[in-house]
């Protein structure tokens, strides 16, 4: 059973209490963007085997959305944090780097995938 601590209400929630929302930190592209940008935002996914940042909703609790840093290869949870950020906070990054020294952040400030 996956257990995440909701950063909004502080409850340690079982996954049965939560709804998964898939990849976090997507930069939205809407009217005025190119079809490629819109497709990448809408459909293309990192789907990494390893460190992943995800959206979750504490559906059967406080109802708030929050974000989680998790390893998809081992199901280890690195931490959760509020959703009102465009990048993971420094303490989460530090915790991931301590556990996964080879891991490199794979986002750029403009929201594009790294080359």
């Amino acid at each position: 059973m996956l257990i995440l601590t909701c950063p909004c209400c502080g409850v340690m929630a079982d996954e049965t209490e939560l709804s998964p929302g898939y990849e976090a930190h997507l930069k939205r592209f809407g009217p005025g963007s190119t079809p490629e940008e819109f497709e990448a935002y809408m459909f293309a996914r990192k789907n990494p085997k390893g460190v992943h940042f995800e959206r979750w909703r504490h559906t059967y609790g406080c109802g708030k959305w929050f974000l989680a840093a998790r390893c998809t290869a081992t199901l280890e949870v690195f931490g959760t944090y509020p959703a009102q950020v465009s990048e993971p906070p420094a303490d989460i990054i530090a915790r991931i780097q301590a556990r996964r020294p080879d891991w490199k952040a794979d986002w750029q400030p403009d929201g594009k995938a790294p080359k």
Binding site: T16, E23, P35, N47, K49, T72, A73, L75
Partner: protein, 415 residues
């Protein structure tokens, strides 16, 4: 390749079964091949087989990081059906189902295809309307299905409870020619036939990188060194995202865990496959007598090949209402597989941004039933460089173009 036959059995019986040869060879990889298929599961091996049989390309290697058929090919619930709503899906799944009918004879390998019939229960009025629509669509597509009454369901499945308090059985979508097959044998049979055509099946060989020049694929780096190729086919299901990353593009896919479980073996009690999509469970009885049960997927990215325990509980709780007699059954084994889910729950059989690199993935929760049709279509795509009629709708660019093949809303599938 020595043919398997009743005479071969008699011959071997007379000499203590000392003369059976290995079903497929394990050669060292050559420096390069005309085509490399990554992934020796059912889909990869079927692709290689039809490349040789339909298109005469036999300088082919199938590389596999683990062992042959050790991924989702060995982890599914072996159900075969083609009662899909959308035309492209019905076409490729029906092609696969019809190829399964003669696969044992064609491969000279008993894949134990058992067209025992398949029911998809309608347990809400909404579901009934959806299935009636599917029946009409199937009639136009040339897929033989029918809508049957609850009484007929009870005749076909005596152990079913059609008067459940929450979800009574209101009828069923019945595909008489659907059924099951022996999943491992499908991979083994294709592997044996590929090996007999001179193809190389290279196990324990993990792809670590994809090399290209001027936007055209030139080969793959593997745990056993570089192997060159003119064409590359990626057929790796759950790990498609990793391989695409190596080739420099992203896919509209999330990898999640799907679970299945089997009970202790019991006497024959159900000779059809029953799917109950409203309550998220499906069940058939194996030849050994185990009840083979599948349920829903987890909703988060996962590569661990094990799923969340509460899904087992949900699946069994739902099935116990519909099949009260299984409430006392002990469950023997449970396992998970990593399925590659696209946004519209339909697969990709597609060219990629890298020239001469092709991808076949996204089968999600329904890959096993598609193996022969998928291999057929992928082989055509790889041989000709352009998709044939079976594959043309499954391009990875359909998302940009808005041409979804929307089986998730069509509810032809359980997830």
């Amino acid at each position: 390749m020595k043919r398997y036959s009743v005479f071969a059995i008699a011959r071997e019986a007379a000499r203590y079964h000392m003369g059976w040869e290995r079903a497929w060879a394990s050669p060292e990889p050559r420096a390069s091949y005309d085509a490399i298929i990554v992934g020796a599961g059912g889909h990869g091996l079927a692709t290689a087989y039809y490349l040789g049989k339909n298109h005469g390309i036999t300088n082919v290697a199938v590389v596999e990081k683990g062992w042959l058929g050790g991924g989702n090919t060995g982890r599914n619930t072996t159900i075969i059906r083609s009662n899909y709503l959308q035309d492209p899906s019905a076409a490729i799944y029906e092609k696969a189902r019809s190829l399964y009918e003669t696969l044992s004879q064609e491969l000279n390998y008993n894949v134990m295809f058992s067209p025992r019939g398949l029911l998809m229960l309608g347990q809400t009025h909404h579901e009934v309307r959806g299935y009636l629509r599917t029946v009409h669509a199937n009639a136009l597509q040339g897929v033989q299905t029918e809508w049957i009454s609850p009484q007929r369901v009870k005749e076909l499945v005596p152990i079913i409870n059609i008067d459940g308090p929450r979800y009574p059985v209101l009828g069923a979508l019945y595909q008489a020619r659907g059924g099951t097959a022996r999943h491992d044998a499908v991979a083994w049979g294709y592997a044996r036939a590929c090996s007999a055509m001179g193809m190389h099946i290279i196990q324990n060989c993990e792809v670590q990188g994809v090399r290209s020049e001027n936007g055209t694929v030139t080969g793959i780096d593997t745990s056993r060194g570089f192997i060159g190729c003119r064409k590359l086919g990626m057929v790796v299901a759950g790990h498609s995202g990793q391989l695409a990353e190596m080739a420099g593009f992203r896919l509209p896919i999330e990898a999640v865990a799907l679970q299945a479980l089997v009970s202790e073996p019991i006497k024959p009690c159900m000779d059809v496959v029953v799917m109950a999509n409203t309550v998220h469970g499906y069940m058939s009885q194996s030849d050994k007598g185990e009840m083979v049960i599948g349920g829903g997927t987890d909703g988060f990215n996962n590569y661990t090949q094990r799923g969340s325990f509460h899904h087992i509980e949900e699946t069994l709780r739902a099935l116990v209402e519909t099949f009260p007699m299984i409430s006392r059954l002990k469950m023997l084994r449970q396992w998970g597989g990593i399925v590659d889910m696209t946004g519209d729950r339909s697969p990709l059989i597609s060219k990629t941004p890298l020239a001469n690199c092709f991808i076949n993935c996204g089968w999600g929760t329904g890959g096993f039933k598609a193996i022969p049709g998928s291999g057929w279509a992928m082989a055509e795509l790889m041989a000709k460089g352009e998709p044939g009629p079976l594959a043309e709708d499954f391009s990875m660019w359909r998302f940009k173009e808005g041409r979804f093949i929307d089986e998730s809303v069509a509810a032809g599938v359980a997830h």
